[in-house]
């Protein structure tokens, strides 16, 4: 049984985008802040910090979740995947990212990392979703500048080319 006092820092070992890392965090540190401030993975954005906006969505053991509603201590021994993992090392966009670009699915890009991670999980489970299903998943995100039509079109483009 693990016990960490409020003033103590716990040692956390995780795999971030395929790389094994260790870092320290006090119990109250949110995963979103841990990623950004301790690990320097600033691709994950923080919007509302209470689970509504979806900007901070990452994959924990492959499953999309709000990093602002997860404690850093909870990912000890787990695999965390963030938006930084999507493009190739030379910057080539992956098919989902490319589809966002093709369909003008972003303007300011603040909400984009979370949306990309949600659909990375969802398209893995359901590679050919209906428009209705895409909208249902997208309802877990807020975009305040682009609007949702381009995002739906981008995901539809990826779904169309799925085998």
């Amino acid at each position: 049984m693990r016990r960490v006092n409020r003033s103590e820092k716990a040692r956390i070992a995780l795999t971030l985008n395929g790389r094994k890392l260790t870092a320290d965090a006090e119990p109250r540190l949110l995963l979103s802040d841990f990623l950004r401030h301790e690990l320097g993975a600033t691709g994950t954005h923080v919007g509302c910090e209470h689970g509504i906006c979806g900007c901070c969505t990452v994959l924990i053991d492959g499953v999309a979740a709000r990093s602002c509603l997860t404690l850093a201590v909870q990912v000890d021994g787990r695999e965390v995947t963030t938006v930084e993992s999507l493009a190739a090392a030379d910057g080539t966009l992956n098919p989902l990212q490319q589809a966002f670009r093709n369909n003008h699915a972003l303007q300011c890009g603040f909400c984009t990392p979370g949306i990309l991670m949600s659909f990375t999980d969802y398209l893995g489970r359901n590679p050919k979703p209906s428009t209705e299903e895409i909208r249902e998943v997208l309802s877990g995100h807020l975009c305040r500048c682009t609007g949702y039509a381009g995002i739906v079109a981008a995901v539809e483009e990826v779904a169309k080319s799925a085998p």
Partner: protein, 270 residues
């Protein structure tokens, strides 16, 4: 915002969790999916001295078929239950309610028992548990006790759980082949409902439940003229006012949504 400091304990088994809970009682909160608790901590609406994380306890993470009931353990997420292959057949009302619970992303972590423990008066799973006549298994060092849904949820965010008790599981009666209906009105899909209505067809009557009209889900058997019965019931319940809706709007929504959900349940039964 960020939570205030707290101590963190991660027990490995349910027995350990119960022992830690006995040690801290009221000073502790149980963390399962955290989709209600963490927003409350982040917004500093509540304070906890000790957070007991039960999300990784393997013996709480199972869906068990007990024959006439389905038992859902404390660490089972809403999406895990939603993806359970026998859900539609054995628990049709729960299958109809689950898509309304939060979003895909929050259902990945949010637990079935956590939603029932949180006891929001307009939330879907407490309503489904109440209408289907389910029960809650409470575990402490003193032993297990089982409460009916109606005894468990007492008022807004208030339940019969004692400070040293862990909600080990909830049990939904198997209602294979039952005609059921579920609908709600919310500001946007995935938000808390302003009004949620559930209906289940029984032999000579229909069991109807409504969330968002009182401090907890209200359940009643309705026979004969559904519209008249709902209208009368809406007057009796009065409803309450909050940021999203007046009591009058709640009554009006219930009058309109109630008969519609009952019709749907009847059609589904036919």
């Amino acid at each position: 915002m960020k939570p205030r400091p707290f101590d963190y304990v991660q027990p490995d088994t349910a027995a350990e969790a119960v022992a830690v809970l006995a040690e801290y009682g009221d000073d502790a909160r149980l963390l399962a999916g955290g989709q209600s608790l963490l927003p409350m901590l982040n917004l500093r609406l509540i304070d906890v001295a000790v957070l007991i994380d039960i999300s990784r306890i393997g013996d709480l993470d199972s869906i068990r078929d007990l024959g006439d009931k389905i038992e859902v353990g404390a660490a089972v997420t809403q999406n895990k239950l939603m993806e359970w292959p026998q859900l539609k057949q054995k628990l049709p009302l729960v299958a109809a309610a689950l898509p309304y619970v939060g979003h895909f992303q929050t259902r990945n972590k949010g637990t079935v028992c956590g939603s029932i423990a949180h006891a929001d008066p307009s939330s879907e799973l407490p309503l489904a548990l109440a209408v289907s006549g389910g029960e809650v298994v409470l575990r402490s060092k003193r032993g297990d006790r089982v409460l009916a849904a109606g005894e468990f949820q007492q008022n807004m965010l208030t339940t019969a759980r004692a400070p040293d008790e862990l909600i080990a599981a909830v049990r939904f009666p198997v209602t294979a082949g039952q005609g059921t209906g579920f609908h709600e009105v919310a500001r946007r899909h995935g938000d808390f409902a302003i009004i949620a209505v559930a209906a289940a067809v029984e032999k000579d009557s229909i069991r109807v439940g409504v969330g968002g009209m009182a401090g907890r889900p209200m359940v009643r058997r309705i026979e004969g003229d559904a519209a008249a019965a709902i209208s009368e019931w809406a007057e009796e319940l009065e409803g309450y006012e909050d940021l999203h809706a007046s009591a009058a709007l709640r009554r009006d929504l219930f009058r309109r949504l109630g008969p519609h959900v009952i019709e749907e349940a009847k059609k589904c039964a036919a």
